[in-house]
C-alpha cells in the first residue's frame, strides 16, 4: 500500500520542513529574548555582587571573578549534552529543566558560607542550567523560521543588551535592600521565569532520536543506545568539512570578540579619559550593539547578499575597527570607533548562528550548535588570558587590541574557505534522504523490515486512518 510506505518518510522529514515563519514563532522569539536576558544579561551585571563578595569573604577580586568564568565555561562545555538531550526529549522539557537548575543554583548560593560554595552553586549548577536553556532555545527559533530567521535571531538577542542596562540598577537596589544573600534568592526566583519560557516552546514535531529509535526498536539494546548517543551528539559532524571549517572560524572569532568588553574601560582610563567618559563609551557601544543585531537580522533576511558573505563583511569590519581602537587618541575618534565596533559586534551575532543550518542542514543543526559552543569555548578561554598577558608584558592595551582584531580577521579568512562560499547562490540544503544513505545502513535495513509489518501505521498514523483501511 502506498500510504504506509510514504508516511514514515514524511513523518521524519515534515517536522523539519514545516517552518511557520510567523505566528507562534514570534512567541518563541519572545522566549529567546527573556532567556538571553536572564542568562547573559544577568551574567554581565553580576559585578555588583563581586564587590560584596570581596568584602564578605575577604578574597581577592580575581578569585571572585572565577565565579563567572566557571559559569560561562559550564554553559559552553555542556552545550553538546544539552543538544543531545533535546534531540532525545525535545526542547521543551530540557529548557524547563535548565530554568529550574539555574534558579536552584542561585537559591543555594544565597546560603553559601565560603567562596567554594559559590563556585559550585553559581558556577556549576547555574552554568549547567544555562547550557540546558540556551542551545535548545536558539535551535527552536531557527526551526520556527526560514525566511525571517536572521531577523528573529537578532530580535531575540536584543534581550542581552537591554537587560545589561536594566539589571545593573536593579541588582544594586536588591543588594542594598536585602544584602547579597537576599538578592541572590530573588535572582533565583527571577531565573525560574525561564521555566515559563521553556513551556512556551511548542515542539514542531517529534525529536529526531525518538523517531529513529522507534524505527530501530528491533535491534538489541546496547547498539541502539550507542547509535542513540551517536545521533544525539551528532558526532558525524566531526567529519563534515564545512562544519570543521566553520567551527575553527568561530573559535577565532570568540578569541577576539570578548576582549574589548574586558579592556575597553581600562584602556580609556589608561589614555587619560575620566571614569564617566569611559562609562559613556561603554554605553554607546552597548546601544550600537543592540541596533546592530536588529538591523543586521532585518537586512540579511532581505536576501540581497548570502548570509555567509554578510558574515564575512561584518567580522572583517569588526576586526578592522578593533585594530583602529588604539589609534583613536581623541575622545570623538574613540567614540566613533566604538560605535562601529559595537554595531559590527551586534551585527555578527545573529548571523553567526543563522548560518549554521545553511552549512550542516536543519536536521543536524541542534547537535551542530552544541558542538560549536563546545569548540568555541576554547577560543574564549584562550583569548582573555592572552590579552591580559599581552597587556602585562607590553604595559599598554594596544597590542592586545591588535591581537584581538587579527584573530577576527584570521577568522574571516577561514570563513572564506567554507564550501560553496564563492558561489553567488545558496547551495541546496543537504536533504534528509541523502544523509540517511550516507551513514545509516543499519537503520535503512530496519526501515525496510518494519515497513512490511503492520506495527508502523499504528505508531505513526493518526487514528482516523484506521477506519479507512478497515473499509478497504
Amino acid at each position: 500500500m502506498e500510504k504506509p510506505q510514504k508516511t514514515p518518510e514524511e513523518q521524519q522529514s515534515s517536522p523539519q520542513m514545516v517552518a511557520p515563519d510567523g505566528g507562534w514563532g514570534w512567541v518563541v522569539v519572545g522566549s529567546l529574548f527573556v532567556s538571553s536576558a536572564l542568562v547573559f544579561g544577568l551574567i554581565r551585571s553580576l559585578g555588583v555582587f563581586f564587590v560584596e563578595f570581596v568584602q564578605y569573604f575577604g578574597e581577592s577580586a580575581q578569585a571572585v571573578s572565577w565565579i563567572t568564568s566557571i559559569g560561562l565555561a559550564m554553559q559552553q562545555l555542556m552545550s553538546p549534552i544539552s543538544a543531545a538531550a533535546s534531540n532525545v526529549y525535545g526542547a521543551r522539557p530540557v529548557v524547563m529543566m535548565g530554568g529550574f537548575l539555574s534558579g536552584l543554583g542561585f537559591i543555594l548560593a544565597s546560603q553559601a558560607t565560603s567562596l567554594l560554595h559559590l563556585y559550585l552553586t553559581m558556577g556549576f549548577i547555574s552554568g549547567l542550567g544555562w547550557a540546558l536553556i540556551f542551545t535548545p532555545t536558539v535551535a527552536s527559533v531557527m526551526q520556527y523560521f526560514t525566511l525571517r530567521r536572521s531577523l528573529a535571531m537578532g530580535l531575540g538577542f536584543t534581550g542581552v543588551g537591554l537587560a545589561s542596562f536594566a539589571f545593573s540598577p536593579l541588582f544594586q537596589y536588591l543588594v542594598e535592600a536585602y544584602a547579597w544573600r537576599g538578592a541572590l534568592l530573588v535572582l533565583g526566583g527571577l531565573s525560574f521565569n525561564m521555566i515559563a519560557c521553556g513551556a512556551l516552546i511548542r515542539p514542531l514535531g517529534t525529536p529526531k532520536v525518538v523517531v529513529k529509535a522507534e524505527n530501530a526498536s528491533k535491534l538489541n539494546k546496547c547498539s541502539s543506545l550507542l547509535s542513540r548517543i551517536y545521533e544525539g551528539f551528532e558526532i558525524s559532524l566531526l567529519s563534515h568539512r564545512g562544519f570543521l571549517t566553520y567551527s575553527m572560524a568561530i573559535t577565532l572569532f570568540n578569541a577576539g570578540y570578548f576582549i574589548p568588553y574586558v579592556h575597553l574601560v581600562a584602556h580609556s582610563r589608561h589614555i587619560g579619559f575620566t571614569e564617566y567618559q569611559a562609562a559613556f563609551v561603554i554605553s554607546v557601544t552597548g546601544v550600537a550593539d543592540i541596533v546592530g543585531r536588529v538591523a543586521s537580522g532585518w537586512f540579511s533576511d532581505l536576501g540581497r547578499m548570502r548570509m555567509q558573505h554578510m558574515l564575512v563583511v561584518w567580522t572583517g569590519l569588526l576586526g578592522l575597527s578593533l585594530m583602529l581602537i588604539p589609534v583613536a587618541v581623541v575622545y570623538s575618534g574613540l567614540l566613533v570607533v566604538s560605535v562601529v565596533y559595537g554595531f559590527c559586534a551586534g551585527a555578527m551575532t545573529p548571523l553567526a548562528f543563522a548560518v549554521v543550518p545553511e552549512i550542516v542542514g536543519m536536521e543536524r543543526m541542534l547537535g551542530a550548535l552544541g558542538l560549536l559552543q563546545l569548540i568555541e569555548s576554547i577560543g574564549g578561554l584562550l583569548g582573555a588570558p592572552l590579552s591580559g598577558w599581552l597587556k602585562d608584558y607590553t604595559g599598554m592595551y594596544t597590542v592586545s587590541f591588535i591581537a584581538a582584531g587579527s584573530f577576527l580577521v584570521l577568522g574571516t579568512f577561514v570563513t572564506m574557505t567554507l564550501p560553496y562560499f564563492w558561489s553567488c547562490t545558496a547551495p541546496p540544503p543537504p536533504s534528509p534522504s541523502q544523509k540517511k544513505s550516507q551513514d545509516e545502513s543499519i537503520e535503512d535495513g530496519l526501515l525496510k523490515q518494519t515497513l512490511s509489518s503492520n506495527s508502523v501505521p499504528e505508531i505513526l498514523c493518526p487514528s482516523d486512518d484506521i477506519p479507512y483501511s478497515d473499509k478497504e
Binding site: Q55, Y56, M96, E176, A177, Y178, A179, R181, G182, A183, L185, V186, G188, G189, L190, F192, N193, I195, A196, A199, L200, R202, P462, S463, D464, P467, D470, K471
Partner: protein, 320 residues
C-alpha cells in the same frame, strides 16, 4: 627645645595655574612637637623648614589649604603676596579664625623685592582647630588654612544590611594615610555610646586595625544588633568620629518577593500548558477520542446535549 623632626613636607603643586599677571601666594610651615605647651613663639631660625607654594589665578581667587593636625603643636603660617599693581611700599595684613578677625593680629608688611610676606605663629590645641585666613586691607586676595584632624571617608548613607545568625563587616577608613594612635568602636544607644570590648565579648565581636583603616566584625547577629556603630580615630589632639548604620533582617524579608515570583512562574506555566491543551482539539479534529482534560471541561460547559450529539457522530464514523 625645639624638635625639627616633625616637618610637614608637601609638594602639592598646581602646574596649570601659573600665569604672568597673577598674584602668587606662598606659604611656609614650620611645625614643632608640642611637648611643652608654652606659647612663646620662637621658631624663626629652625633649620627644618620646608616651603610649599600655592598659586592663585587672579586677584579675587580664594585658595584653601587643608592641613592635617594630629598632635597639639605650634605652626607658623606664612602668606606671600606678589604682583600687586602699583607696588606700594607697605600694605596692612591681618589674620582671621573662622571668619572672625583675631585681635591684635594686624600688622604692616613692607615690600621686599616685590614680595609682601605676612606670617604668624599659632599654638594649636584641640580648641584652636579651625579655618585660619590671612587677609589684606588693600587687596581681595585670601588664603585659608583649614587646620583639622584627618577626616574619615564618608560611607554610603544607606545602612549595611545583614541577617540574623549571619556575620557582617563594618569598616571605617581615613581619607588620607594618617595613622591614629588607635581606633575605638562604640555602639550608640539612644543618647549614649557604649564601648565595644572585644576581650570581654570575643564570640560576638572582632576588631582589626590596619593603620588608617579599621574593620569591626559582628558575629551571631540578632535583631538588637541593629543600630548605629561609631568608629573613633584617636589622635593626640582630638578624636575623629564617624558612624555606620547596621540593619539586621530576618530571613522572611527576602522570602516575600521570592515566593511572589515563584507563584507567578507556577501560574504562568500552568496557564501556558493548559492553553496549549485547550487549543489542541480545535486544531486536530480527529483526536476526539482522546481523554483530554480540556475537552471534558468544554463538553461539560456546552451541556449534555452537545455531548450526546458528538458521541453518536463518533460511533457512526467507526462503523463501516
Amino acid at each position: 627645645m625645639l624638635h625639627p623632626s616633625c616637618t610637614q613636607h608637601r609638594t602639592g603643586q598646581r602646574p596649570l595655574f601659573s600665569m604672568a599677571n597673577v598674584i602668587q601666594l606662598t606659604l611656609l610651615l614650620i611645625c614643632c612637637d608640642g611637648m611643652n605647651t608654652e606659647t612663646s613663639p620662637s621658631p624663626q631660625s629652625d633649620p627644618g623648614i620646608t616651603t610649599q607654594k600655592a598659586v592663585s589665578k587672579g586677584q579675587n581667587q580664594v585658595i584653601i589649604e587643608e592641613l592635617a593636625i594630629l598632635t597639639p603643636q605650634k605652626i607658623e603660617l606664612l602668606c606671600n603676596l606678589i604682583d600687586i599693581p602699583n607696588n606700594p611700599p607697605n600694605i596692612t595684613g591681618y589674620w582671621t579664625k573662622d571668619g572672625q578677625e583675631i585681635e591684635n593680629s594686624e600688622e604692616s608688611v613692607n615690600r621686599n623685592n616685590e614680595q609682601y610676606i605676612l606670617k604668624r605663629t599659632f599654638s594649636i590645641e584641640a580648641r584652636d582647630l579651625g579655618n585660619y585666613s590671612c587677609n589684606f586691607r588693600e587687596n581681595e586676595a585670601q588664603v585659608t588654612f583649614v587646620l583639622d584632624v584627618p577626616a574619615i571617608k564618608d560611607t554610603r548613607n544607606k545602612p549595611v544590611v545583614s541577617y540574623i545568625g549571619d556575620s557582617v563587616v563594618l569598616e571605617c577608613k581615613l581619607k588620607l594615610k594618617h595613622t591614629p594612635n588607635t581606633w575605638n568602636w562604640y555602639k550608640a544607644n539612644d543618647t549614649e555610646k557604649v564601648l565595644i570590648n572585644v576581650t570581654a565579648n570575643p564570640q560576638n565581636y572582632k576588631i582589626v586595625i590596619n593603620g588608617s583603616d579599621t574593620k569591626l566584625t559582628v558575629l551571631n547577629l540578632t535583631e538588637e544588633d541593629s543600630g548605629k556603630y561609631i568608629c573613633s580615630a584617636e589622635f593626640d589632639i582630638k578624636p575623629r568620629e564617624s558612624y555606620v548604620k547596621l540593619k539586621v533582617l530576618s530571613y522572611t524579608e527576602p522570602l516575600k518577593p521570592f515566593i511572589a515570583i515563584v507563584v507567578e512562574v507556577i501560574v504562568l506555566v500552568t496557564l501556558i500548558l493548559l492553553w496549549e491543551k485547550c487549543n489542541k482539539p480545535q486544531q486536530d479534529n480527529s483526536s476526539a477520542g482522546e481523554n483530554d482534560v480540556c475537552s471534558e471541561q468544554t463538553s461539560k460547559l456546552a451541556g449534555d446535549e452537545n455531548n450526546g450529539v458528538n458521541n453518536t457522530a463518533r460511533q457512526r464514523k467507526l462503523q463501516p
